[in-house]
Homo-oligomer: 335 residues x 2
């Protein structure tokens, strides 16, 4: 097999909002597999908010991407060549070496999936992948959702938020409220995902809009954005409110430290808990998650949408668009 494949490299570290200049599309040889390796032709890869922080050199939970090296992240694909005993040509797999057309690696870097269980194998990047598990663990384990809770989700039309809001409803929340950044997303949340209420954070102060949507207060906040949303949630919390902090997309492009909420004095009076988490700590929940959420997906209880961008040459646009909030549901690149 003598062929080449393209991959996206980090060309330079962004200061503030990333641009095309920070990336290069590079064509490389795809070697034959040796010693337990397989070659996977990727069919989809994921672009996610957390990747923005890995473009910076600051120490974080994951090593930063290296300048001049290929980016990586979740992907699905098909084995097209194998020197492995465990994976054979034709197997569908998911893995963490995306941002490229072909991935060549040891077979233990890949996990076999069953594409017949889902409408598109890209679901293994989204609702049945780390994205869905993030929503599941954040809501149930970190925020400790209880029946009857009023739940607020920010970036609610995004990949994680859209799943989190629906899990909240299916697990017995008394009211689910979402925020998002466009009228189309608000309509989507209300009409298609059956959120009880939703508001466009660009239409006015989050503080007042949340008070209006939850006049009796909230119990759980699933935080994807930080900033004014977190401050508003603290003001709207009932006693014993819990925040699962999943991300802070409002801060990822900040070039100066962003002040935190001005109302942390309420932490004590309301006995609030604010807890950050990363899905990588919670893979032990994968089986139960796949059973429960997979069931909802198959019986139609949960709605799942993607924003699909075609071709690796458009991957950077997909990523930049996702950071700006262009997507509804999970943003994936189809190869």
């Amino acid at each position: 097999m003598t062929q080449t494949g393209r991959e996206v490299h980090l060309a330079s570290r962004p200061h503030g909002e990333p641009t095309h200049a920070n990336f290069t599309l590079v064509e490389t040889d795809v070697p034959d597999p040796v010693d337990g390796q397989v070659v996977v032709r990727n069919t989809f890869f994921s672009v996610d908010p957390y990747m923005r922080s890995r473009m910076s050199s600051a120490k974080s939970y994951a090593a930063p991407y290296e300048v001049g090296q290929v980016m990586h992240g979740a992907a699905v694909g098909e084995v097209v060549a194998s020197a492995s005993d465990t994976l054979k040509v034709g197997d569908s797999v998911t893995h963490a070496l995306g941002w490229r057309e072909y991935t060549v690696a040891d077979s233990n870097e890949f996990r076999k999936i069953d594409p017949t269980l889902v409408p598109s194998e890209s679901a293994y990047l989204g609702i049945l992948g780390a994205t869905g598990l993030t929503a599941y663990v954040g809501l149930l384990d970190i925020a400790e959702l209880k029946k009857g809770d009023v739940v607020f989700v920010s970036a609610a039309a995004g990949a994680v938020g859209s799943v989190a809001g629906q899990i909240a409803r299916l697990r017995g929340a008394s009211r689910v409220i979402g925020s998002a950044g466009s009228a189309a997303k608000i309509a989507y949340l209300k009409d298609k995902l059956h959120f009880d209420d939703a508001f466009n954070y660009k239409d006015g102060r989050v503080h007042e809009q949340l008070k209006n949507a939850a006049p009796e207060g909230i119990d759980v906040y699933f935080d994807n954005v930080g900033g004014d949303h977190l401050e508003a949630a603290i003001d709207s919390f009932n006693l014993y409110g819990r925040v699962a902090v999943c991300g802070a997309i409002s801060m990822y492009n900040a070039t100066e430290p962003v002040p935190g909420p001005r109302n942390l004095g309420q932490l004590v009076a309301k006995r609030l808990t604010i807890r950050g988490f990363l899905v990588f700590d919670h893979f032990d929940r994968r089986a139960e998650f796949a059973r429960e959420v997979g069931g909802w997906l198959r019986d139609g209880s949960i709605v799942y949408d993607e924003t699909v961008v075609e071709g690796i040459d458009n991957a950077v646009d997909a990523f930049l668009g996702m950071l700006r909030g262009d997507n509804i549901g999970k943003m994936v690149v189809k190869l």
Copy 2:
């Protein structure tokens, strides 16, 4: 019994730092007890940081003090007249109707104590009272202290902090670090309470001083002050760090909202938990607490100091001094 007693009333609500003008000392009749009541001659009452927030009208966990009415808070005293079947003259009791020389109330407002178990019955306001229970619950239940943790305590020479730091050591922390606001307090922490390290937050940025005191990071922060201390703790946290937020004395006199930490972005990467709590939710832990901490007190494992101010005419000075940090250990008013 025809006699009078003095009590401290809230004269007006403070804007910023309270002054003497916000209080009045009032002489009132002490009625005879009727229908299950007792009359208690108070021997000590407590002045605590949380009382500052109750002087404001803002809704909080406890109803605000009423202007023109007597303040209240923890006290100990002796029954001097009884119309109750359960309490008799000479019994020692603790209760929540302090800031007065005599308390007349139904006997179920009082809890009997054994003054022979402690060097001074004022210990029931401090280390064996809500103060000690706050330190115990905050450290063990809220911050979930584990053996080997590095623990940082702010306001460490204060009533709660001085107990929290010692409990941390006795329960297996690998290193206990305190901050306080004077050289005398730092010497007290290091020499008498055996903190592993301590620094004066007025000597430089908390951030650098904490990094120096805990070069390998911290695991637990017992927060009594908020503000720059919380931000510094977040920067010094190891993975899975936990904050028990007990109070925020740095903010109590603020007249404008105080911005929160600028580094909340680390919540996710480090999987941090910040949890506010109030001791009133944790009275179910009182028996175990009394057994464990009472044991340490009796066998000398734990050091307990008080700052005692004599006379109800000096109670306001005691309170204002406590807010400024004049006390080492628990501040009490002796009557």
